[in-house]
């Protein structure tokens, strides 16, 4: 698998971040990029994609969002056996070590702290591709 084979979902309550990542992933030739505005919207899109037999391969997930936080969405995703091969990358302003550990322990595949640089996102994407290819 390469980035060009992957379907992405970007979950963030801020339009700027959704746009920034959509543009960036497009430049990396991602197969598709969808967006969601909070954890509840994200979870709904994830379940719909599963039901259509076209699951997301990787999800970029903010933490601090209304209705359902990114951490709550992460927990819900990891309860679903069908999503065990979906990479979940936290992308958040939460930078404290205990929260990073909390997210990784709960099943996040990778963690990126805002403000982020594109080369950091690229490195995490490489890690995600390797993880998906295992």
């Amino acid at each position: 698998m390469e980035i060009s084979d992957l379907n992405f979902l970007v979950v963030d309550d801020h339009l700027m971040i959704r746009s920034l990542l959509t543009k960036f992933l497009g430049e990396q030739n991602a197969k598709s990029v969808d967006t969601a505005v909070d954890g509840a919207d994200g979870l709904s899109k994830v379940k719909n994609a599963l039901n259509l037999n076209n699951p997301y391969n990787a999800i970029f997930l903010d933490w601090n969002m209304p209705k359902m936080s990114g951490f709550e969405m992460l927990l819900e995703c990891r309860k679903d056996e069908r999503l065990k091969n979906t990479a979940i990358i936290m992308l958040t302003a939460e930078s404290e070590e205990e929260n990073i550990i909390k997210a990784l322990s709960a099943g996040a595949t990778a963690y990126i702290v805002k403000p982020f640089k594109e080369d950091v996102v690229l490195r995490r994407l490489d890690n995600v591709v390797n993880w998906l290819n295992k």
Binding site: N64, S95, P115
Partner: protein
């Protein structure tokens, strides 16, 4: 009631605020700000050209302080232009940008301060359009910590004020 460390008596704060502002604007938005010196002011000087955003700085259930950011509109417009949003005039998009900048500044500041024992929690930023509403959010009888910065000749501020 739990005892929490008081932010207004801490020298570490100035450096944490400067670092949060610089890192947020430069690392993500590729804009080099000139960050001024942190100082105490009597009030948040109202500026009609500013867009203000606030975040409650909660410690447990208690909120003694708020973070306030003020940007002239040209700053978020410039940032948005860097990412393909040309000539943005849509208030919703500009406010979204201001909230996200504030979110990241607060996240960085919180992480620095919590290493020093403050125990701040992450909260949602919100843009305050009405200056009268802004004045109700903080206690103007107490000193305000102010950090000015300039980007391409446009002024911005980050304040920490006591809650009302």
């Amino acid at each position: 009631m739990a005892e929490y460390k008081n932010i207004v008596t801490d020298d570490y704060l100035a450096h944490a605020m400067e670092k949060a502002v610089h890192s947020t604007l430069y690392d993500t938005y590729l804009i080099e700000p000139k960050v001024g010196d942190c100082r105490l002011e009597n009030d948040i000087a109202p500026d009609n050209s500013y867009i203000y955003s606030i975040v409650k700085m909660k410690q447990g259930e208690h909120c003694r302080n708020i973070l306030v950011t003020g940007f002239s509109q040209e700053i978020p417009v410039r940032i948005l232009a860097n990412y393909g949003f040309s000539n943005v005039v849509d208030k919703v998009i500009i406010h979204d940008c201001v909230e996200e900048i504030t979110n990241i500044i607060y996240g960085k500041l919180k992480a620095s301060l919590n290493k020093n024992g403050y125990e701040f929690a992450m909260e949602f930023p919100e843009v305050i359009e009405d200056k009268d509403v802004l004045y109700q959010k903080y206690n103007s009888d107490k000193k305000i910590i102010s950090l000015p910065f300039i980007i391409n000749g446009h002024l911005g501020h980050v304040f920490i004020a006591a809650c009302n």
